[in-house]
Homo-oligomer: 168 residues x 2
DNA sequence: GTTGAAAGGCTTACTTT
DNA sequence: AAAGTAAGCCTTTCAAC
């Protein structure tokens, strides 16, 4: 991916409602060129969509927890993600290496709600749960490192890049 | 928070670039009324901003890991989040209950990068790390449960319904 | 792939109810 | 708080380099 595409993605990650006019000014291209690049980024799946970032506290979901799950019977078919997808309190579901099978990010309104969701998780996926309650969120969903060049691969140098030293 | 505000937040969570015209049609209000409500939601901090959702694979960050950290010396001042904030590979930083002090979500390009970031985390915050590698992401950042009413029975207080004056 | 221009649509503010 | 109107800017498409 080119440097300009990276700049576009970085800008839209920071502000998803940037106008094409502002975007064009930032990356130093015409409005039409920027528009075409954004459309291609969307079609290629680099940009998957746009979303408003909401305050979970304001949305009455002040309690966040990580729930590591492990099946009661490891010989059973492992389809926990699908069996849990119907629970809207589950924000994310990761298949992980280590002692546990999956790691869930859960957002609820209260400890009572957390208890209810944990019970629902256990019964829906036939798993044991190990829960880590989040006390506070220092930061979350920070924009990824999108700078001038590729982080590790040596496939090509970006425009204006000097040496091939690793980015810090 | 009112039902219409919930509908607005839900719609903008699913599609952050919805026009006010479309939004007005969805919630059954005029464009002006919707515009005013969105501005108030933004000013109250319910809507914190807008962001493009990007594919981390496409951004050359295919490796995700959770890093639980614990200080070498628990008597030292605990300012790990600030000491780690300069590392762009850290997506999120949660203060957690349990055996560990913080849980980090890290996104990197390769195992070599992960090693480098882990070393940087240890030296920057003077902590030990316990890393859980993500094998696959079933789903991530799902829209929170924003339906008609409060999630738990009765007791929940809506934002902005509090007593007394509100800043802004 | 980039640029420039034009038509249509959207945002925003103001006014009214 | 909600609706209507108008001005200005943006989005989107089309043609040209």
């Amino acid at each position: 991916m080119e440097e300009i595409d990276r700049a576009i993605v970085a800008a839209l990650t920071a502000d998803g409602r940037l106008s094409y006019t502002d975007l064009a000014e930032r990356v130093g291209l015409s409005v039409s060129a920027v528009h075409q690049r954004v459309r291609r980024l969307e079609q290629r799946g680099v940009i998957k969509g746009y979303a408003a970032r909401v305050s979970f506290e304001a949305m009455e979901l002040p309690l966040t927890a990580f729930v590591a799950i492990r099946p009661f019977d490891p010989s059973q078919p492992d389809d926990a993600p699908e069996r849990l997808a119907h629970l809207p309190e589950i924000d994310s579901c990761y298949s992980v290496a280590g002692e546990d099978f999956y790691l869930l990010l859960v957002r609820v309104a209260s400890p009572a709600d957390l208890e209810r969701v944990l019970q629902a998780i256990r019964t829906a996926a036939n798993v044991t749960t190990r829960t880590t309650v989040v006390l506070s969120t220092a930061y979350e969903g920070r924009p990824p490192k999108i700078s001038a060049g590729p982080p590790t691969r040596g496939r090509g140098r970006a425009v204006g890049e000097g040496t091939g030293s690793t980015a810090g």
